[in-house]
């Protein structure tokens, strides 16, 4: 390999370090109008009237629109088309968009928003899971779902769960809570649209140009070929720019009305309202084990606080239950999930999408079981590790799996078992797994998930792909794969990406899918191109690589005409035969193991993280520098969630919609991170590669909480682990109460009758036999 596996700089590094990269808000077009959005000051209210007449009369105002101008509902999932770009009937959270203005100056647009008068009938807000499960005082938030404010209920059982518990030597139940938090991208969402010759063009800070394209076509009632969506340079997503957003639709509509470019950049406060972040999740788990800690059955319940709209919520709900079996071999498994609507900004996918919460619960729960049995938690977990090339009881196909090696690396490097004990010092261990791309698309179709075209002309190579580089380096992955096949350097490859007019489809940067899926499409296209070049060169009696690339191009163009090739990737059809089986399958799973070392102060409750060791099975590192960057960034974000980040509300209002008050780790807060890249060469990944961007976040919160127990002897069963919670747990311990801070109970949820699913043939047999 000439370039694959080398720590090369990103292909866009120069643009990023010189300030030359153009983010959406940097795009300045002649005659651009500025857009501001009027948002609801109430968490829950009916809109009785909207009077925009004063705003329309203001000098400099060119257009004012309300929900009546954009009445068609949209939403990322086909089953929950419940959002409007502007609401004219009802508002469901503080920040819900109501009206929008296009004006010559931003200040004028803001003043015009202030001049719009809205009459509300204020309704009782629903602000918690418990409140959402109870009958609504006034009316439910949404007109679907139910009973009460329940959005989604699911109950699935795989294998003989009752039998598994009956066979267990020890059964334990625990309740955990993971507080919601937000992505906090450094770049505020921004979009700019033009309307020229009957055609809309939108530049946006989005992770998914294709899904924005679809939503625009639906709401604007235009055919897709009259809409062009271009991903501008991207200032951070983490899942937060994976929905189609109101402001994206609004600027298009205003451009259509005014005939001028219209730009909308959200303020930082508005970014907190756009949200789609980590769901707060309450979890109950019951597990049966044999005397040596081998799992016989698990029953897991989750209740997700979804906020006001569906977003990705149905998928998020399934994700809280889907991947438990991909880390530990669970021979019988029951999952009951519930998502509720509340009057808060909608939750959605944040790095790890629905899986960091159950990961936290399961890892701590197993730590407790190990201690109940007097077993070493690391060894007990190891005994239950899922094995490579197996199928789980819920039909998920596991291929390459580096869990054992990841564990070995971090346990050894951290001297986990050899360390000296000292007061206030603790270490914690946890593992995780994540998808290398969702195996099914957001909307049902049989088309490829990613497509790549290559054009070779006068020695120049151009790669076209709809994939969106959000900073993770997807452009570099495409360039590296094509360069490897054609015998070039990544910087020799020109890229045209994330533009619905000029690039073939890629579903976007979510679910850790790009390296695996766009990478495979690029590999196929590059190998076809290489075959053409090689054939032309060989016809002249040379080997490919013996003649200069430019000469090979001339020979091939003379032989074949215009040199183009294409590749595409469709994930294997591996979902199980049950409703809900579309969430969880992936062509391959990544694996991580992590050790957190910290000192906890029993007097103040303050936690100082000294070091994090993390090993990540990425299959094959196409660029180890970028893989390390993804792993380090994941650990950082995991520490932020574990220690301080929370999106919480008081009397219907976001407590801290600002970057100062929403605490996130600074340079001073992040410890040394030692990263180990483990390579298992997945048979289906490009050159064996799997994902790196999300999985390594997952083990960090449980490893941190376990380390706090190790240091102080108190369980903090709730994320974030704040000093107040540590102090309260220590106070309880001193009083002889349970040495724990966390939720006391799981609410009564009207789960539907459990759907019993027959496990796949062969699944869990090995596990049962070894018990």
């Amino acid at each position: 390999m000439k370039v694959v596996g080398k720590p090369l700089p990103k292909v866009d590094a120069a643009a990023k370090v010189t300030g030359r990269a153009l983010y959406a808000d940097d795009i300045a077009l002649p005659r651009t109008l500025h857009c501001k959005i009027l948002r609801s000051p109430h968490p829950h209210a009916r809109i009785l009237s909207i009077d925009t007449s004063a705003a329309r009369r203001m000098p400099g105002v060119l257009a004012v629109i309300t929900g009546a101008d954009l009445p068609i509902k949209f939403g990322i999932l086909p089953v929950t088309q419940d959002e409007r770009a502007l609401e004219h009937e009802k508002v469901r959270y503080v920040g819900d968009p109501i009206a929008a203005v296009a004006a010559t100056e931003e200040e004028v647009a803001a003043a015009a928003c202030d001049a719009i008068s809205v009459e509300y009938e204020v309704l009782e807000p629903v602000m918690s899971i418990d409140a959402a499960l109870a009958p609504a005082k006034d009316e439910p938030i949404q007109d679907y779902g139910g009973p009460n404010n329940i959005h989604k209920l699911v109950a699935l059982e795989f294998g003989d769960v009752d039998g598994g518990f009956a066979r267990a030597d020890h059964v334990r139940e625990d309740v955990f809570f993971f507080q919601g938090n937000t992505h906090l991208p450094m770049e505020q969402h921004s979009a700019i649209a033009t309307y020229v010759d009957g055609k809309v063009t939108l530049w946006s800070s989005t992770q998914v140009v294709h899904y924005v394209h679809r939503a625009l076509a639906r709401v604007l009632e235009l055919p897709m070929h009259r809409i062009r969506v271009i991903g501008a340079a991207h200032g951070g997503g983490f899942g937060g720019k994976t929905d189609p957003f109101a402001h994206e639709i609004i600027v298009c509509k205003l451009a259509m009305l005014t005939g001028r470019p219209v730009k909308c950049t959200l303020t930082r406060e508005e970014v907190f309202y756009a949200h789609r972040g980590r769901h707060p999740v309450l979890m109950w788990v019951r597990t049966g084990v044999t005397g040596n800690g081998r799992i016989t059955a698990m029953h897991f319940r989750s209740a997700l606080d979804g906020g006001a709209y569906g977003s990705y919520g149905v998928a998020s709900t399934f994700y809280t239950g889907a991947l438990q079996t991909v880390t530990y071999d669970i021979p019988a498994y029951r999952f009951e999930g519930c998502r509720v609507f509340t009057n808060k900004p909608p939750c959605g996918p944040k790095r790890g999408h629905g899986t960091p919460q159950p990961r936290f619960a399961i890892e701590l729960h197993l730590e407790k079981i190990a201690r109940d049995l007097g077993l070493d938690p690391v060894n007990m977990k190891r005994r239950n590790f899922v094995q490579p090339y197996t199928r789980t009881v819920n039909w998920l196909r596991v291929t390459s799996c580096g869990l054992e090696e990841c564990t070995e690396r971090v346990i050894k490097a951290s001297r986990f078992h050899e360390r000296e004990r000292r007061a206030g010092h603790g270490m914690g261990f946890a593992i995780s797994s994540y998808l290398s791309g969702a195996g099914t698309a957001i909307y049902w179709n049989d088309m490829p998930h990613s497509e790549v075209q290559i054009k070779v002309d006068r020695g120049g190579v151009t790669v076209y792909c709809g994939a969106m580089d959000i900073g993770q380096g997807s452009d570099s992955v495409l360039a590296t794969i094509v360069a490897e096949e054609l015998g070039l350097q990544p910087t020799d490859v020109r890229l045209v990406t994330a533009d619905t007019d000029t690039t073939p489809i890629d579903l976007g940067s979510y679910s850790s899918r790009v390296t695996f899926m766009a990478g495979n499409a690029a590999l196929e296209a590059a190998r076809k191109m290489r075959a053409m070049l090689a054939e032309a060169v060989e016809a002249r009696g040379h080997e490919f690589g013996e003649v200069a690339f430019e000469e090979a191009c001339v020979l091939a163009e003379a032989r074949f005409g215009t040199l183009t090739s294409a590749g595409s990737y469709t994930p294997p059809k591996i979902a199980g035969p049950y409703k809900g089986s579309g969430v969880g399958p992936s062509p391959a799973y990544s694996y991580s193991a992590c050790v957190v070392d910290l000192d906890a102060d029993a007097r103040t409750g303050l936690i100082a993280v000294n070091k994090v060791w993390i090993a990540h099975d990425v299959g094959r590192a196409i660029n180890p520098l970028l893989v390390e960057g993804q792993v380090e960034g994941s650990v950082y974000m995991g520490l932020g969630e574990a220690l301080m980040e929370e999106q919480t509300f008081r009397k219907g209002l976001h407590k801290w919609p600002s970057m100062l008050e929403y605490k996130s780790p600074t340079f001073l807060d992040v410890p040394e991170i030692e990263t180990f890249i483990v390579e298992t060469n997945d048979p289906e990944g490009p050159y064996g590669a799997k994902e790196a961007g999300q999985g390594p976040l997952l083990p960090v919160p449980p490893a941190l909480s376990s380390a706090v127990y190790d240091a102080l002897g108190v369980w903090i069963d709730e994320i974030p682990v704040t000093p107040e919670k540590v102090i309260e747990a220590l106070r309880r311990k001193e009083k002889g109460e349970e040495p724990r801070y966390g939720p006391q109970r799981f609410p009564t949820v009207p789960y539907p009758p459990t759907i019993k699913v027959e496990p796949p043939p062969g699944a869990a047999n090995a596990a049962t036999a070894s018990i």
């Binding site: 505020q188 900073g471 960057g629």
Partner: protein, 164 residues
């Protein structure tokens, strides 16, 4: 209605020295340096994350010191030397910090990068041999959500090494 924003805004003529070029501007007095750089001078390399002085994204140098351009008014800055990310390379030769950030993967989405480069430049000018703690302290006002800061610290160390 907020009529005050609709009245004629007061504008002022002033000369700003940005990246070694003196430029005469006519700008509304209330506009921040960040807005004037981005909107009146097309220097969009300087980014914004909050416009409240909380995130460090809009950091520029004023007489060599790192300052937040969202909290500065151009009327305060006549006669001061302002440096933005566009001004740290020498022609087409990148600054050692820019080179090191590229080599070591210290820029992912790149949005915080201009501000961080300038904070780092300010640090290295006063302290050519910073310890890790010096770097953490000097950069504590610049948030980054992508990198976990690790590769940024390594890149600053590498650049400092090469600049000595």
């Amino acid at each position: 209605m907020k009529n005050e924003v609709l009245r004629e805004v007061e504008r002022i003529v002033l000369t700003l020295d940005v990246n070694g070029e003196a430029k005469q501007l006519l700008v509304p007095v209330h506009k921040t340096l960040l807005e004037v750089l981005r909107e009146d001078m097309q220097l969009t390399g300087t980014k914004h994350g909050c416009e409240l002085g909380e995130c460090g994204t809009c950091t520029v140098l004023v007489d060599g010191h790192a300052e937040l351009s969202c909290l500065l008014l151009p009327v305060q800055l006549e006669g001061r030397a302002i440096t933005t990310v566009e001004g740290i390379a020498r022609g087409s030769e990148l600054h050692p910090l820019q080179v090191a950030f590229g080599e070591l993967g210290a820029a992912q989405c790149g949005y915080c990068t201009p501000g961080i480069l300038l904070s780092a430049k300010s640090l290295l000018e006063g302290n050519p041999r910073p310890t890790r703690d010096d770097i953490r302290e000097a950069l504590a006002g610049n948030l980054c959500r992508c990198t976990g800061y690790t590769k940024i610290i390594e890149a600053i160390e590498l650049a400092a090494d090469r600049m000595r």
